[in-house]
């Protein structure tokens, strides 16, 4: 690193780098290790914000802002939206199914990282000569970028426009679902139920049980076993049915305990009264 000694940053930036850098790495790690997609998304958002800060620190003011607006603002929100669609609480197990995949991945990742770092290490990185000149050339970072964007990179810029449009259209096409047959009326539905012969009445409502009134809780059959049917199909698919039986037991226990306490307190009071009467 001796060759790079020529240009060093301010101590403040150094501190900032070490602190935020650490957090960023941790965030990244969390992103890939969290069980739930939501958490991953949040961690990623954090990392991105930190990166935005780094951009700013590196004199890329415009990018820094764009980073926050576009990424943390737009893209991550998109992610969260999709996550919601798929199911917030859906936790996929980190258990590896493919044989040796994880080890291969680890090996590759490790080797790759080492290679990259080694590469940067022995790459002949020439002195940093700061962005002040470049930024001030057109009177500011944004102006500078604009100058470049509309002169040198104008074609690329236009093409990205085309790309975005295409992407938008593509997304619509992909997600759009054509309804082929008219929506079935209630009558038709009932007739179908009759034809199928099961569940002539509409499906039972979800578990209105004790103090619970949530859609993800199955109602209990007379014998106390929960009935899947009562829960919304989507939730069922996502496997987000809360096991009500155990909950019910817990609640019962808690109830008894509480009543126990109350009774106990009453007895004490009773004793005290008795002693006062003797005096």
């Amino acid at each position: 690193m001796s060759t790079l000694a020529a240009y060093t940053t301010s101590a403040g930036e150094a501190v900032q780098f070490w602190v935020l850098g650490t957090i960023a790495v941790i965030g990244a790690l969390c992103t890939i290790l969290m069980k739930r997609a939501v958490h991953s998304a949040l961690c990623l958002a954090g990392t991105m914000i930190i990166l935005a800060v780094f951009y700013l620190a590196n004199g890329a003011y415009f990018l820094g802002v764009v980073q926050i607006v576009v990424y943390t603002g737009a893209i991550m929100m998109l992610f969260l939206f999709v996550v919601m669609l798929v199911g917030v609480t859906a936790a996929d197990s980190l258990k590896e199914t493919l044989k040796g995949q994880r080890w291969l991945a680890a090996a590759c990742g490790l080797g790759f990282g080492i290679l990259l770092i080694a590469g940067i290490g022995n790459a002949s990185v020439k002195n940093f000569n700061g962005l002040d000149a470049a930024n001030s050339a057109n009177g500011g970072n944004v102006e500078g970028l604009a100058a470049l964007l509309f002169t040198k990179y104008v074609f690329a810029f236009e093409i990205t426009g085309a790309l975005l449009i295409t992407a938008a259209v593509g997304a619509m096409v992909l997600t759009h679902r054509e309804r082929t047959e008219p929506a079935r009326t209630q009558r038709e539905l009932s007739e179908q139920r009759v034809r199928e012969g099961k569940h002539l009445p509409p499906l039972p409502a979800p578990g209105v049980y004790a103090r619970h009134n949530a859609v993800d809780i199955p109602g209990l059959l007379p014998d106390g076993t929960p009935s899947e049917l009562t829960v919304n199909r989507t939730l069922r698919r996502r496997g987000q049915i809360r096991d009500v039986s155990t909950e019910a037991l817990n609640d019962l226990k808690a109830l008894e305990q509480r009543s126990e306490e109350r009774l106990g307190r009453d007895r004490d009071e009773h004793d005290r009264d008795g002693q006062e009467a003797k005096r």
Binding site: M1, A5, Y7, T9, E13, F17, W18, A24, V25, A28, L29, T31, S40, A41, M48, L51, F54, Y55, N58, A60, L63, V66, Q67, V70, Y71, I75, F79, V82, D92, T97, L98, Q101, A105, G109, G113, I120, V125, F128, N129, G130, L131, A133, N141, G144, L145, L148, L149, K152, Y153, T160, L163, L164, T166, A167, A168, G170, A171, L174, T175, R237
Partner: protein, 99 residues
């Protein structure tokens, strides 16, 4: 501190992202990891632009963001339709590339 550390950080993040792509099954998370990798690249670009003292690096980073945005849009759309069709967002379920 030497600004080259930014590059090291970028490399690290990139590697982490790549590893994530390899080990996660949830398509959404995989996408996040890809975003992570892209961001790492962006950081590297920015650092380089600082290194060379011109703004081209930032321009590239900018383009990267645009492309990333587009990619996310399409990718998520794919995931959604995939989820619709097979009610799961696991990349392993779609193993149709098998001969």
């Amino acid at each position: 501190m030497n600004p080259v550390n930014y590059l090291y950080l970028a490399a690290l993040l990139f590697t982490i992202g790549a590893a994530g792509v390899l080990i996660r099954r949830n398509a959404i998370v995989v996408f996040m990891c890809i975003e992570l990798m892209l961001n790492a690249c962006n950081l590297a670009f920015v650092a380089f632009s600082r290194m060379h003292g011109n703004l081209d690096g930032q321009i590239i980073a900018f383009f990267t963001m645009v492309v990333a945005a587009a990619e996310v849009v399409v990718g998520l759309a794919i995931i959604v339709s995939l989820f619709r069709s097979r009610h799961s967002a696991s990349v392993d379920d779609a193993s149709l590339m098998k001969l």
